[in-house]
């Protein structure tokens, strides 16, 4: 917690309450008066081609390596003299113009893995590329700083590894009502009663019981809180648009959820990339713009930070099928109000200094972004969650 925030919060609280055991309860009081910081993650699954998303349109090497796949200069939406956005990203350009967007270039990790599954695992678990973890970084956030599965919600039908903790998992829901209705039967309430810790810690069966009990209380809370609000904003009519619409409804209802997880898939463009990526980026940008406007209308945008990533970028050189193969470093988008560094955060990767596979060499470890968000936005001890300390960046 920085000094300014600390003073603001402590001046609100009666000094009597300011003892460690009350800190948590106090934080909840403070949340309603000061604004409750929330993080929204957008995962672009399949490996989005970052070089055709944020385009180095002055770089001859770019067009040399991508003779039929490079985006022509006249189609690029210029950001500055060097970089521009894909033509589908006009809505994102508007966010950029308002100072709501920070583009972090060349994000990756040491010894990159080019398999979707592994690289997604690495991003979701925040481990070194040669280490395996059964828990995700948001799951560990929940382990350390959460109480209930609903503190971290995946707005989908199924739960990703990122939201799975050692002792507690997040919850996935796109439809709070149907989830709630499913567990109302007293039979399950009675099964969950009187359970003791010894049985709940048994390997697989104990895990089943524990998950059942947590699901019961979470489903009830999410449904009863979120039903008070409906969004009036129009979103693009597709799965991703609906995910963000539900997320906005959850946020605007005041649900005590710190992190929302959403995803858009289909970015694995080995073959005929141009049309596929154009369509997907359009879905992404239009939905995000609607989301930001919805939050602004409800005065919740200032307390929401949106982070967009993909498990890897793609190879600089196009392949024989007018597509690209799995690569390494990529760009990350941070969207929010009052960003400390707006616009383009750092320079593009070099296209001439590539690794042995012909891939970009990363400059920023993605975990420094996680660490910054954990520390400065969610105000928790990032090293406890990432199991190691990373440098802090200054985009927020």
């Amino acid at each position: 917690m920085d000094r300014r925030k600390f003073l603001k919060q402590s001046s609100l609280a009666s000094s009597l309450f300011f003892v460690p055991s009350f800190v948590k309860a106090f934080e909840q009081v403070a949340s309603s008066s000061l604004g409750y910081k929330r993080l929204v993650i957008i995962q672009l699954s399949g490996g989005n081609d970052g070089l055709n998303t944020v385009i180095p349109f002055r770089n001859d090497l770019y067009y040399k390596e991508r003779p039929t796949l490079g985006i022509p200069k006249n189609e690029v939406i210029n950001l500055n003299d060097e970089l521009g956005l894909h033509s589908s990203l006009m809505p994102l350009k508007r966010l950029y113009d308002n100072g709501y967007l920070s583009i972090i270039n060349n994000v990756g990790y040491p010894n990159p893995v080019r398999s979707h599954f592994r690289s997604m695992d690495i991003w979701q678990t925040a481990t070194d590329s040669n280490k395996f973890s059964q828990t995700g970084w948001l799951g560990r956030y929940l382990d350390n700083y959460g109480k209930q599965p609903y503190n971290v919600i995946e707005v989908d039908d199924t739960l990703s590894l990122a939201l799975k903790g050692e002792n507690i998992n997040g919850i996935a829901t796109q439809d709070a009502k149907s989830l709630f209705n499913l567990l109302r039967d007293p039979y399950f309430k009675n099964l969950g009663k009187h359970q003791n810790d010894a049985h709940l810690s048994e390997h697989n069966l104990g895990y089943l019981y524990k998950t059942m009990i947590e699901a019961q209380s979470s489903a009830k809370y999410i449904y009863e809180t979120s039903k008070t609000v409906t969004s009036k904003k129009e979103y693009p009519n597709n799965k991703f648009g609906n995910q963000l619409k539900t997320t906005a409804q959850f946020i605007n209802s005041g649900l005590e959820t710190k992190v929302f997880y959403t995803s858009l898939s289909g970015f694995d463009t080995h073959v005929n990339q141009l049309n596929a990526q154009k369509r997907l980026l359009k879905i992404y940008a239009e939905s995000v713009e609607a989301f930001v406007e919805d939050l602004k209308a409800n005065n919740t945008f200032k307390d929401t930070l949106v982070l967009t990533f993909s498990e890897f970028g793609r190879r600089v050189n196009q392949n024989a099928s007018v597509g690209t193969d799995h690569g390494t470093a990529n760009n990350v988008f941070v969207i929010g109000d009052n960003l400390k560094k707006q616009g383009v955060y750092n320079n593009m990767a070099s296209l001439s200094d590539l690794d042995d596979n012909g891939d970009l060499k990363f400059e920023i470890d993605f975990r420094t972004i996680y660490a910054t968000v954990l520390n400065k936005w969610l105000v928790v001890d990032d090293s406890k969650i990432l199991n190691r300390s990373f440098n802090q960046m200054n985009f927020i």
Partner: protein
Amino acid sequence: MKVNYIQHLYWRAGFGILPNQLHALAKKKKEEVIDGLFENSKKTTPLKIDTAEIDSILSGETKISSENQKRLQQLSREKTIDLNVAWVNRLINPSELLREKMTLFWANVFVCEDNNVVYIQQFNNMLRQHALGNFKEFVNAVSKEAAMTKYLNTKQNKKQKPNENFARELMELFTLGEGHYTENDIKESAKAFTGYSHNFNGEFVFRRYTHDASIKTFFGKTGNFNGEDIIDIILEQKQCAKFICEKIYRYFVNDALNETHIKQMVDVFYKDYNIETLMRFVFSSDWFYNPENIGTKIKSPIEFLVGLNVLVPVQFNNPRQLLYIQKQLGQTLLDPPNVAGWKGGKSWIDSNTIVLRLKLPSILLNDAYISKTELGESDDMMAVKKSAFKNTYGRKFKIQHDWETFNKNFKDVNVKDLQDYILLSELNPEASSYLNSLSKVSKKEYGIQLMSLPEYQMC
């Protein structure tokens, strides 16, 4: 053979066992029971749906018109649903039980999907054919399947422009595991698989002019290797046998690996890569029947659904609902999440899937009703609640459940012993005392109570 051991064996090699067969097998020796399982799976019965219209489009022309291309995609989408349903029905009523369970297992090792149903059906039958055969022939067959050359882009892998996708996943996910090869091994072996392709009918075609016949260096060996040579060299690595044995152990024995058991399995498998020999070894070993391995695995969604059907047969009037349930439970056959397949174990279960699993038996089989009648009371709520559910959801959710078959199969089982046939794991003490406070209204109602427990998720 002990009743409990037979139940365990049949849950791992199949999807549970009914009282009659169980008591018949209990009179036999362990070796005989295991022999019977393999004897029964000698044959291979391919899974075939009607694809006549697609076949005629695929074989009629040398080039498919864009109109036919559209028709093909539409037909394929519809037929893929049929194939999914046919596969689930096959698992419920298998002619070769173990072969079908193995096919399901291999489908999550050699993960593949395709939008052409003819190719994916052919791929599925290739899995079935090799499921208990020789692993080397198996891997070669996988590498030459039309669906696989499409899925992992071997088709696009050409001498001038190699595509490494298949070479990478072959080693990472199919044979060796992450960290047991170098990036250079991938580059070199990708060259060896150049030229692998297929014709419209889905037959393997080797395109000589796109094949890279140059000298390659792979795992320290140098030569003019082709794809088959690469697979030979991979299988020479003991790590390959270990990798597959670990997968088998996790799936059939326990999701926590035991190094001693794995080592024994590797010694058996590495000799000739015969899958049947390996499975016989596993099912015959004493440790397979250790208490820590019985009733301690979390059922996969398909094991859960199929096992439920073995107890009480269910038919969906609209097959899309069966697919919807698979999706919600986290495992839609023919639609894996990615090339790594489903992770299994605890990852099947989260707040969402546990809710659905606990509710599903009562929803599918008993109009969403679970009796909570206390001892000595009569169940007054049942009729009202069931008809209320029927009135609200009956039209949307059209299913036929066959309790007659259940009653016939459990005719000679006393209601108080039902637990021993439906649950494999020990009852949690609190759940047990709650159940004991309730009245066993009927075999059907008690059966539903048992199937609505976390314990029913275990096998």
